[in-house]
Symmetry: C2
Subunit: 356 residues, 2 copies
């Protein structure tokens, strides 16, 4: 498979450089948009059939494995701006859904995408976004097999919203859940935190930093597959997106009715991200990530898990940051830079609007 | 299972009668919204686990059938107004996705829902919509097992957008596709056309008619199952939503490279819908439907198919409206009320904005 080229507006679509309501009406204009824009980009025979549903033949899918499960996930992406350093809404939508599948240990099988387009959207922007989605799907090796397009009146949307859903297959024997953390377990992160949220925030706020900060958006399914091959009894896995590390650890602590204690100094944060957080008054542990995972691992497997992650290109900065404790069940605490301990609570409401 | 009761705002949510950005931020407010609003409504153990993906155990799913397929579909719903005679956006989203599965002959297994909420949306409206979705899912017997919620700034959305995705299982031996119509085949509709589009349009335009016109939104999977049991070799099936009967027949004609000729007088249209269409200057064959299907059936099975549909509560007004012909391949023609013949083309662009 070739990685898809960058977007050039196909000839039949050039009469309308902007999205108009007719692009969502089930008529010829919508058919042209789908046939000339989406189908060539996501080139695969199941999507090209354009049936009401995509049908995956089961023969080749190894579905006969004992106790395996189908994973099914959905996520709406409403990020602003649509394009940001290191990615765009399309790449985010593909990688985010692949990661949701990976976090339950599933091998991703297929994706769907539903677009809600605002009248007046530049067709070129849509083309760039769809190209980026197609490229992300190809890089990850996960086909996008079905989709939908709607157009809303100008002023009733925000350029593009994309909802991606995903299907995956969970291998036999995998038991991952936020409620499986046990005192003594180690807590690992796969790399530096805060990159995505700060990349988007700085774009929104018009800030420039000495060092460019790029979104970390990336598909984590191969990292997870290697981790599970080395440590089949991974307890919990989650990609710390909205709410960041703090929200993820609080969810583990609450679901498992265990305490969590981590060391602030052990959490990898790029110096540029740390500076940006200080300038913006943000705690990097609450900032969103898109290409990182948090794992809870049985204590005797912590080192193997760390080594396995570090061998993967997306886990080079992996670190053990803390452990599950019997004290303060349901509560997450951090040992601070000055040696004291503070509670790291779930964020109450809005921190970073529309960063994914 | 009880049919869910109508919506009352749960106590923990009463502090915020309107959606605020914090309801979409991955923190406590979002957790409360999901736990107190969505999870109780869609009560099922897979959803309640709130994992990144829903995992369906395969054991009970009869997935070992030879040559069966998984159906996977997605649809974004952006209808305005959110509430209309006979339904609302939530009921539409559930039934629409079930119908997309049914149109490839699949037995629906599970649904997902992703909400894009506009800041300022009345929580009570969201509650009504989610209640309606839960009720529709329960009536259809298809669980909603995973979801997502995002909130966008006021003025950047339109109350609620809902993207539903669905998974289904296609029984062995079913071969339905828009390219399978052959000259001589009969064309059937399952009931009156135009009800949904006119119900929504009249609400939007503030029109009142002597006879109330209600949306026909309904789940068609049991009707399809009975049809397939009687006529396993159904050629084409589609629910004529956006673009109506005209768009569906044009798609069949084009994909099958066959002509289609139907008799206008044979198409069931309620008198009130016909009057409303005349008043609004609309052709009922282009108006959207949400609880009807168009079927192409081998000629010798047409009567069995008709009888089977008429025995089902959602097919009582079923009719044979025309046939596939060898003439004018790719073109749909109608014999008019005065006996002449006219071409019924694909609509070019916008006809009825945001009716689904």
């Amino acid at each position: 498979m070739n990685i898809v080229e960058s977007f050039t507006c196909p000839v039949p679509l050039r009469h309308y450089p902007q999205i108009v309501l007719g692009h969502g009406s089930g008529g010829r204009m919508m058919a042209e948009l789908i046939e000339h824009l989406f189908v060539p980009l996501f080139a695969n025979p199941t999507l090209a059939r354009l049936g009401d549903s995509a049908v995956l033949p089961l023969d080749g899918l190894e579905l006969r494995t004992e106790n395996a499960g189908l994973a099914f996930t959905t996520d709406a992406f409403v990020v602003q701006p649509l394009f940001f350093p290191g990615g765009d809404i399309g790449k985010l939508a593909v990688n985010g859904t692949i990661n949701d599948l990976a976090m339950v240990g599933a091998r991703p099988l297929a994706l769907s995408a539903a677009f809600i387009l605002e009248e007046g959207l530049a067709l070129n922007d849509l083309g760039q976004i769809a190209t980026s989605m197609a490229r992300a799907a190809q890089v990850a090796g996960v086909p996008l097999i079905t989709g939908d397009t709607k157009v809303v009146n100008k002023g009733h949307g925000d350029g593009v919203f994309i909802t991606t859903s995903g299907l995956g297959l969970v291998p036999a024997g995998i038991q991952i859940g936020p409620d499986r953390a046990r005192p003594g377990d180690a807590i690992l992160v796969s790399g530096t935190l805060g990159d995505h949220g700060i990349a988007v925030m700085s774009m929104r706020e018009g800030l420039e930093f000495e060092t460019a900060i790029e979104s970390d958006t990336a598909p984590l399914h191969t990292l997870v597959a290697e981790l599970l091959a080395a440590v089949p009894d991974v307890r919990c896995l989650r990609d710390p997106t909205r709410g960041g590390l703090a929200a993820t650890l609080n969810e583990f602590a609450r679901a498992s009715q265990a305490g969590i204690l981590f060391d602030e100094r052990a959490v990898p944060v790029r110096p540029a991200v740390r500076s940006a957080c200080e300038m913006l008054g943000l705690d990097p542990f609450y900032v969103a990530n898109e290409g990182k995972l948090v794992a809870v691992i049985p204590p005797e497997k912590a080192e193997i898990a760390l080594m396995t992650m570090r061998r993967h290109p997306l886990g080079q900065d992996a670190a053990i940051i803390g452990q599950v404790v019997a004290d303060h069940p349901g509560v997450v605490a951090a040992r601070t830079l000055i040696g004291s301990t503070r509670v790291v609570d779930l964020p109450a409401g809005e921190l970073l609007p529309r960063i994914c």
